[in-house]
Amino acid sequence: MKKINYFLAALLGLSFSFASAQTPKGSVLIKNATVLTVTKGTLQNTDVLVQDGIIKKVGTNLSAPSGVETVDATGKYLMPGIIDAHSHVGLDVVNEATSPITSEVQMKDVVNPTEIGIYRALAGGVTISHAMHGSANVIGGQNATLKHRWGTKNPNDIIMMDAPRTIKFALGENPTRVHGRGNGIQPRSRMGVEAVIRNGFNEAIQYQKAWADYNSASAQKGNKATSPRYNERLQTLADILDGKIIIHCHSYRADEIYMLINVARDFNITKLVFQHTNEGFKVAPEIAKYTMGASVFADWWAYKFEVYYSTAFNAAILNANGAITSINSDSAELIRHLYHEAAKTQRYGGMTDDESLAMITINPARQLGISELVGSIEEGKQGDLVIFDSHPLSVYTVPQMTFVDGIKYFDIKEDKNDQRLTVSPTEMVEDVYLRQQTERCMQDTEHLFDMAGNLFNQN
């Protein structure tokens, strides 16, 4: 009897252990590369041994244990797998744009591991991406940190199970356009954005109290207490207040960034990362002191009014002021050459090699709360590695191989033409997409826009 129950229990918990048990881990010895550790300097003619998905040894004259493949990287460069802190690749739904607060929505529910964008990111050396809810809502859904283990159809296989929880916030033009101007619901102005956030947190505090009161009352004998409604939305906000979730806030204008920093201080929130934050440089000292830094574009500007007063020197200024700075893509196109986007900080601000590389490795890892696991080439970290044929920060570099957990998922020499995992059985002529829309922060909100306004917009 006991045995059967145990089996049933295991069966019920099966999906979770299935994933972690089945997530493939590999071993490989990469020899004689110029190893850019990012945190411990650059090592010439050095070997890196990965075993069962973990970097076991970084040194010289290493030999491969039996059954472990050797990759000769003479003349090549090895760097940690690139981490994109802002992406929407691999998600079937990006925006649940119907309410200004949708903290109960989970991107983990709608991950699509067969999206070709994942493979294309791998071919650009990106091993981890932060798949985020879109920027339509002031408080959006919870994000998913993905490891690009290409080839599986099971979404659980690519979700990084040991990554901390994160949630999307958005300030400025996007939520005020979607809710205020598009739907007649607060917020319509930046004033409203602050009100929505403060109201949300205060309601969450009341919710926590109601449940705490009920829990203690219902423990008493002969009590007459009935429970309050269950509300995952408010519970999630309460979790943010309890420090269990890292806020990643899409923001642009200096004043709104400053606003959220003050709100965070009022509610004792320290786990806050600003995303895009084109005017972050104007409040760089504040971002450095009170937050977990900023994740910015290399050079996007002027496509909306709130980014008109931007500078490509943003990352350099933030970095110089001591803020943890990373470079992100927010685009299925840019994610394929994040190494090049990071290199732009050398043109705009004269960053050193290690500073630029940190912006796509250890810094985003810190902002996602996974810096103990990935983000640099150090013994004990996960085997996420990329080999380039020349220095990654050179504009002419070409990524050669990408490893996730020690398994090679991209090899330019063995790269087959058609990487699609699924093909429609009724496909007559394949769709040709011209000038794809690459910024997906506003996906799933098209119906809320003024139809007439979009009519003659040919682009």
Binding site: V110, Y230, S424, P425, T426, E446, L448, D450, L455
Partner: protein, 564 residues
């Protein structure tokens, strides 16, 4: 315990309705439609009593909707109408595991003045677990089409939003009976969001479903406390709670619509989290999740449809390497798709069919294709009979030809899955339905006239776009040889409906097309609608300038005064 009581009440209902019907039908019937006897004997037919058993020449005796005997040497009562079965093959009547044939979508409820789209009332947001499919069902020509295809029992599912309501089991018997076998047999759930309000996407739907489920559980606890402890605050009981109550108790399963692998996984995820009984339906692409479905022990309904082979047929010979590589991948995908049912069978999963979204006339062909792809004939027959009966918990009454079971039979001209087999008779609930079987007359097909395609009248339409569904009414009048009319649509400028005249109306055989202008903020766009009319329904597409094309469906609103 609950089940036996239920059963008892159901049987009472059936008996009751029989008694009512026999007293309603007084002796005289001036229409001449009344049958002369409720007893039948099908003599000397090749009878396949259950899937896997070889056909045996036997006689079947039916009395009052029940199979009174199967075999040889039966004593046939004098009242029995004889049907010579010498050239006929008999199978148990088919059971449709989930059907929306005969279902009319209910009207969207009116939105109140203070409607807030971020927090809409459940009823408007598509959360209506108390609704029953029975209220939306009517035995119409489409249902008759299904019966013509051999289906005798349907589990009808209601139309609606993410939680549409409760399914029910109907027998396709005589139109004078309610034909209801059992109500509240499953809760129809899907990932459909609602237009312009929360939840709008699959992610929102999943979060909302968890919310509804967990709060139902809490309300139940609070209700129980209210019932047993004095002085407790009265819990707020609403329609949603009433509808969800038996689902959280486990007595009503959740029938989740999930066509793709990812959707199936999402449904399984919710099931694992919340613990409800799960039936998966509308499966189209599922090969990769067969192990997961097996492990979870869920019941499965696959679409009685295979992918269109137009693309495969259109593949040309003389093409570049690139295109050839594409062709190979598409063909592979196609071959895999038709082999899926066979794989389900091989994995030991006892699946059934659903006809939602499937044209009744294509079902036979689709099944034959699945058999070509690896499904055994026994497996196909089981999916049509014993499997759905078991899924519904009605193996005692349905699924095989045995004494004591309901008189649901299909009589064909040859063995079931042969190329030119036709269905000659269907017996449902003990009522006999005859069908014309014709020899392949190609000339007949070609000469089919297109007169009488009913166009004029009021059409209730819906259209699906990424923004959600939208609808209105099209009124068409015939003026000699010309048509004119108007259309109502959701006013983009605000709430409510706007009306516009329709223009460029063209009728070509059964293909209808027309256009109308939508004006918004001083600009005007042309919307084009085109579709095929089949009886009372129209199927086609709505194209809006450069925005794209969206599926369009319309049903003719029955009206006494509509004229051709």
């Amino acid at each position: 315990m609950k089940r036996t009581l239920f059963r008892a009440s159901v049987i009472c209902m059936i008996l009751g309705s029989w008694m009512i019907s026999s007293s309603t039908f007084a002796q005289s019937d001036p229409t001449g439609k009344k049958r002369i006897t409720s007893s039948f004997a099908i003599t000397n037919a090749t009878v396949f009593t259950e899937p896997g058993k070889a056909g045996v020449k036997s006689t079947i005796l039916i009395q009052d909707g029940v199979i009174a005997g199967v075999g040889n040497n039966l004593s046939i009562p004098k009242e029995a109408k004889l049907i010579a079965g010498d050239s006929l093959f008999v199978y148990a009547g088919f059971i449709d595991g989930a059907s929306n044939t005969g279902i009319t979508k209910p009207k969207d409820p009116e939105r109140s003045e203070n409607f807030v789209s971020s927090d809409p009332p459940d009823e408007i947001a598509g959360i209506t677990p108390s609704r029953s499919a029975v209220d939306q069902f009517a035995m119409d020509s489409k249902v008759e089409e299904l019966r013509k295809g051999g289906f005798t029992v349907l589990q009808i599912v209601p139309e609606g939003g993410m939680i549409a309501g409760k399914a029910a089991i109907m027998v396709l018997g005589n139109e004078t009976s309610s034909n209801l076998i059992m109500e509240n047999t499953a809760l129809a759930v899907s990932f459909k969001g609602s237009r312009g309000m929360y939840p709008g996407t699959a992610a929102g739907v999943m979060a909302k479903f968890r919310d509804v489920y967990k709060n139902t559980e809490l309300t139940k606890i609070n209700s129980d406390k209210y019932a047993s402890v004095p002085g407790v605050k009265r819990p707020d009981i609403d329609d949603t709670f009433m509808g969800m109550k038996d689902v959280i108790a486990g007595s009503t399963p959740v029938m989740f619509s999930a066509s793709s692998e990812l959707e199936i996984r999402r449904a399984l995820k919710l099931q694992k989290e919340l613990g409800f009984n799960l039936i998966l339906t509308d499966l189209e692409n599922y090969e990769g999740v067969i192990p997961e479905m097996k492990a979870a022990g869920v019941k499965v309904l696959i679409k009685a449809e295979v992918p269109d082979d137009k693309a495969i047929k259109a593949q040309k010979e003389d093409v570049t390497e690139d295109v050839k590589a594409q062709y190979i991948r598409v063909k592979e995908s196609f071959d895999k798709a038709i082999a899926q049912a066979g794989k389900l069978e091989a994995a030991g999963i006892q699946f059934s069919f659903t006809t939602v979204g499937v044209k009744a006339g294509d079902i036979g062909k689709s099944l034959k294709t699945m058999i070509d792809g690896g499904l055994s004939e026994t497996g196909a027959l089981a999916a049509l009979t014993t499997n759905p009966a078991a899924m519904m918990g009605m193996s005692r009454e349905l699924g095989t030809i045995e004494k004591g079971k309901m008189a649901n039979l299909v009589l064909t001209t040859d063995t079931l899955f042969k190329e030119d087999t036709q269905i000659k008779h269907v017996i449902a609930d003990g009522y006999l339905f005859d069908y014309e079987t014709k020899a392949k007359k190609k000339a007949d097909e070609a000469g089919k006239a297109t007169t009488g395609t009913k166009v004029a009248g009021n059409w209730d339409y819906t259209t699906e776009s990424p923004a959600g569904s939208s609808g209105g009414v099209i009124t068409i009048k015939k003026d000699g040889n010309e048509y004119s009319g108007t259309i109502t649509y959701d006013d983009p400028a605000g709430s409510g409906k706007a009306t516009a005249p329709i223009k460029d109306i063209k009728l070509d055989g059964s293909s209808l097309s027309f256009a109308f202008d939508v004006n918004a903020q001083g600009m005007s766009i042309v919307v084009e609608i085109s579709g095929t009319i089949d009886g009372n329904s129209m199927d086609g597409t709505m194209s809006i300038g450069q925005f794209g094309s969206f599926p369009f469906e319309a049903t003719l609103i029955p009206s006494i005064t509509a004229k051709l």
